[in-house]
């Protein structure tokens, strides 16, 4: 199908983007790899698309004390090629390989993925496991929101009207596992696991099990794999999808936990 009619403006500065965003029916366009399909399917009908891909402030991967700042416009492909990500947040590299296909990874962005908050997407679960901070900018300044408070519901985030997601900050965590089960490579996951571990303990988050990514708090703290498998049933109450029942999803989540456990449990 073809997209409905809309106006288009490429923002030349953040200031201009903040001005355009106030217009009725305005919507931000980043990589377009989720928004344009929804336009073509006529699931969305914005009046104005504000293309932010020219904004330098939202680009780049920077090393910071204790971690990394990844600009909203960094594409999945750029992230995959980054040595800094490999050293500071290898979880993201492992996850990016599961996102769609090369041609889509060349345009889709980190910021677009976090802002969309698809419950089956990889980065939101990684952001939760890594305790990332989402940086939102608006006309008068910036707001920093921990990932645990950012994902609020199905495709729903803490982004307020007039705000643009500028970056995400990830603390350095070297030991990580990303696993997912999908019907075909590149499809959205049925269930996925993003896990990290450091001296302060393990953090395991799941995707594809509910309206938002879910932090498996009790399983993360368990002393043994058997205990973790038992506790996972309290952390997750997976929602069935078209093909998989809740019980199937919980079973698959346990399978992934068993596969990830050794890596996440070696002594530091």
């Amino acid at each position: 199908m073809k997209a409905p009619s809309f106006a288009y403006a490429k923002a030349k500065s953040l200031a201009e983007a903040f001005e355009l965003i106030e217009r009725p029916g305005a919507r931000i366009l980043a990589g377009g790899q989720s928004l344009i399909p929804s336009l073509n399917m006529r699931l969305a009908s914005p009046e104005l698309l504000i293309d932010i891909t020219g904004l330098k402030d939202l680009q780049g991967i920077d090393r910071r004390p204790g971690g990394l700042r990844i600009g909203a416009l960094v594409t999945h492909a750029q992230l995959q090629r980054s040595d800094a990500v490999d050293q500071h947040a290898p979880l993201l590299l492992q996850a990016a390989a599961h996102i769609a296909h090369p041609a889509i990874r060349n345009r889709g962005t980190m910021g677009g993925s976090l802002a969309l908050a698809d419950p089956a997407a990889e980065y939101p679960a990684c952001a939760l496991a890594l305790n990332a901070t989402i940086v939102l900018v608006h006309r008068r300044g910036e707001r920093r929101v921990p990932a645990a408070k950012f994902f609020k519901g199905l495709f729903e985030t803490d982004i307020r009207p007039g705000e643009i997601l500028a970056a995400a900050e990830f603390p350095k965590v070297e030991r990580s596992v990303f696993l997912e089960l999908a019907r075909r490579h590149g499809d959205y996951a049925i269930v996925g696991l993003a896990g990290v571990a450091d001296a302060s303990g393990r953090r395991i988050a799941y995707l594809g099990v509910g309206a938002t990514p879910v932090f498996a708090e009790q399983a993360s703290r368990a002393v043994s794999l058997n205990a973790a498998l038992e506790l996972l049933g309290r952390d997750l109450q997976p929602q069935a999808d078209l093909y998989n029942s809740s019980a199937t999803k919980l079973h698959l989540a346990k399978v992934l936990l068993s596969r990830a456990w050794t890596t996440l449990s070696k002594p530091h």
């Binding site: 073809k2 366009l29 790899q33 344009i36 296909h101 041609a103 075909r184």
Partner: protein, 157 residues
Amino acid sequence: MDHAVETTLTVNGTRITRRIAPRVHLVDFLRDELGLTGSHIGCEHGVCGACTVRVNGDIVRGCLMLAVQADGCTVETIEGLSDSKELAPLQQAFHEHNALQCGFCTPGMLMAAQDLVRSGTKPTRDEIRAHISGNYCRCTGYQAIVDAIEATINGKG
């Protein structure tokens, strides 16, 4: 045209300036405005890969990029890469390995495959499959396509 935006892009080496309605995606523009019908349209939501073109050197979904977003960009299509002979070894290998039947997926498949060929790596069959995983073929069953790409990369096209 509603909300039309003046857009200048280079397509297969030729600089073009047009006023384009924002709702027109890149492949419709290439096909309907420029008559470059080699890039195909299957699903128009990013799933099938029939629309694969190169923008600034990277393969993209032509149906998931607005033509106005290509302002200032260099676009290469199956026509350009055929004429320049860049695709000749792959095309020969596809022919020899029977890697196409109806041919609908073939332009997109060649664009995705060439992306891998020119990366200079020596991919395994699994890596070849991963690289073309976003390109659907309803005829061949993929085996012959992977054979053709592998043969091209190993220089025994």
